[in-house]
């Protein structure tokens, strides 16, 4: 606060603020100052978020081939094609949606349960706890390119560690993890669980520490077993966190891209090519941007419906008091989990 004191300004604060609610008042109400503060952000926001959302809709209504001079308006054709069996985009799009669906259905339950078990194991003070927490979180800070290249090596059917150690255990040692289904699905789900479980575990752990200890003590006085304590104290106390984790995990899984692009390269055929992968290839490799934009809107609609479903499922069971403020943050770390899953 190195500002020199100048003459008191006319619009200085009134002294009565201590009495009222902690709200800012008169000083802030005038001028363009707020807009100057907002301007840099809003420029980016309008140019690269709000604008593109509308622009994408525009693109999806045109036969928008990047390489062609004409981009004729075609109305909803790009959308109706997606729902017309036999059209160019129909089969590739729904095959990719199916791939995303399979991945999500198998990865989400594991990513909800495994990190919870880890968090429960660590929900006590003991020396070294933070070290363990750091270890379990570590893979998450690495990018998908690193973990995918690493696992493609480990999953190599001839010289990979995975097959080698399976062989030592007397199991089949020639599984083609990256080029055959269902093995490729096990690989993609397994790698993703390994990669991202730390994220969910850390959030669970913070949620567990917020459950008042007195509740456990009371439950114990009533003679509740460990399982009963988990069922009636831990689980209800964890509900808001659980709904958050469920939501972000589903969204992240539905946005899976890098693992499929790098580990299986969509193989066999394009069977493990996910929806995002298909959209990117359609729009940015084959330059059929109208179709790709339409696909991304259909996928978005699916994701929104799915989110509403999850939200509704958890809403019924949540205690009303925590509900209100928690809502907007449900999706906050989407930024962190973009394209992971």
């Amino acid at each position: 606060m190195a500002t020199t004191v100048t003459a008191p300004r006319s619009e200085t604060v009134s002294d009565d603020r201590r009495g009222g609610a902690p709200r800012r008042r008169d000083i802030n109400s005038v001028g363009i100052a707020p807009w100057l503060f907002l301007a840099p952000y809003l420029v980016l926001f309008v140019a690269f978020v709000l604008g593109p959302i509308v622009y994408g809709l525009y693109i999806s209504l045109h036969r928008y081939d990047f390489t062609l001079p004409n981009k004729p308006f075609v109305g909803l054709e790009n959308y109706t094609d997606l729902f017309t069996p036999g059209s160019i985009t129909f089969s590739s799009f729904w095959r990719a949606m199916r791939a995303t669906g399979i991945f999500t259905v198998f990865s989400v339950p594991l990513l909800l349960v495994v990190p919870l078990v880890i968090a429960l194991t660590m929900n006590k003070k003991f020396p070294g706890r933070n070290l363990f927490r750091a270890v379990f979180f570590a893979p998450y800070v690495l990018g998908v390119a690193v973990i995918a290249i690493l696992w493609r090596y480990l999953l190599d059917s001839n010289i990979g560690l995975v097959n080698y150690y399976l062989g030592l255990l007397g199991l089949p040692d020639d599984t083609a993890w990256t080029t055959s289904t269902p093995a490729a699905w096990f690989a993609l789900v397994g790698v993703t669980v390994w990669w991202t479980l730390g994220f969910n575990a850390v959030i669970y752990l913070a949620g567990l520490q917020d459950i008042p200890r007195e509740l456990y003590e009371a439950a114990e006085m009533d003679g509740a077993s460990r399982w009963q304590q988990f069922r009636h104290v831990t689980l209800p106390g964890l509900m808001p966190v659980l709904s958050f984790v469920t939501m972000t995990t589903i969204i992240a899984s539905a946005n899976m891209f890098g693992q499929s692009y790098l580990i299986t390269k969509g193989a066999p055929g394009t069977e493990t090519r996910t929806a995002i992968y298909q959209i990117a290839e359609t729009g940015l490799r084959n330059y059929q941007m109208g179709s790709a934009a339409a696909m991304s809107y259909v996928l978005t609609l699916f994701l929104i419906l799915l989110s509403l479903l999850v939200f509704w499922l958890f809403r019924d069971r949540q205690t009303p008091k925590k509900q209100k403020a928690g809502v907007p943050l449900q999706a906050a770390p989407m930024m962190l989990r973009q394209g992971r899953g």
Partner: protein, 305 residues
């Protein structure tokens, strides 16, 4: 993850989970001891298995080409070789890993700075100023938290193309910098600051900018560092966007470059692991140094608000 960060990471005593002694008053101490030892054994075993792929990655990067492709896999490089690094980092290849490394560091640093600067300014206006349209602005920003990023891929590609940013680092730095999360996160933090300090500064004649710059920002260092860290990590690790908007070998970021390295050297696992290690070093260093900020930032995101 050293001992120095340990104490600050512990939560206050009142908020910890159930404690062992009070759980089962009838249990004899030996059983408790067994249980405690058992937990360590299980956790250590789990942690070792969990981290072993990363260890194997580092080990393999120091192997020779033949050694990296031979069975049974060895957990120690014999002979110890830095050939893979020499090849990967050497000049004159079409996979200039060092160049990619520089590109990634520049892009992620600029991106993080841009995110922190724009989010902090906007968040301060939304936290402490009253103006017409505030609710609409804030509502629009929050609403985009729910918009899956996939919807932006195609239009942003075209916009970036029209700005002649394709195949440049600006395409990686700028379009993703409007962080709704950043605004939300910092706004929450600013609202939590004691308003009296700002008022005192105002009474001393400081204008809004001076209050923001000299009072609010210094008080917000932990939040700014956390956001900057997360933005750096996200940008550094981003994969889809760089893969499609960067074409030339010399403009790639590390993750995008690694995928071309993989295509070009499908069976040179020594090279691939060396490249992966190079790509991991900055984030792992950042993680070890700032683990507290990163983990706390993540774990709070699920709870606050």
């Amino acid at each position: 993850m050293s001992a120095s960060t340990t104490s600050s990471l512990e939560t206050s005593p009142g908020t910890t989970g159930p404690d062992r002694p009070s759980r089962a008053p009838t249990a004899e101490p030996t059983r408790l001891k067994v249980r405690r030892v058992l937990r360590y054994v299980v956790l250590i075993a789990l942690a070792v298995v969990f981290i072993s792929p990363l260890i194997f990655m580092i080990v393999t990067s120091f192997k020779t080409r033949a050694d990296a492709a031979s069975l049974p896999p060895s957990w120690w490089p014999t002979p110890f070789s830095t050939d893979a690094y020499a090849t990967v980092l050497g000049a004159g290849t079409d996979t200039p890993v060092l160049r990619w490394f520089a590109n990634s560091m520049i892009a992620a640093t600029c991106h993080a700075a841009l995110v922190v600067a724009t989010s902090a300014l906007a968040a301060y206006a939304l936290a402490r100023m009253e103006f017409r349209g505030k609710k609409i602005v804030f509502g629009a920003i929050i609403a985009t938290l729910f918009v899956p990023p996939v919807i932006l891929i195609i239009p942003n590609y075209l916009i970036v193309g029209q700005l002649y940013w394709l195949d440049t680092l600006i395409a990686i730095i700028v379009p993703t910098a409007a962080s709704a999360f950043g605004v939300f996160f910092l706004r929450q933090f600013f609202i939590g600051l004691p308003v009296e300090l700002e008022e005192a500064a105002r009474l001393d004649g400081a204008n809004r900018w001076q209050v923001f710059w000299k009072v609010v920002l210094p008080l917000s260092r932990p939040a700014l560092v956390t956001l900057g860290m997360l933005a750096f990590l996200t940008n550094y690790n981003d994969f889809l966007w760089p893969v499609y908007v960067l074409f030339s070998p010399e403009t790639q970021t590390l993750p995008a470059g690694l995928s071309t390295l993989q295509t070009a050297n499908a069976v040179r696992y020594d090279l691939l692991m060396a490249g992966a290690v190079v790509a991991s070093v900055p984030v792992l260093v950042l993680y070890m140094g700032a683990q507290r900020f990163i983990i706390e930032g993540v774990s709070r995101s699920g709870l606050k608000g």
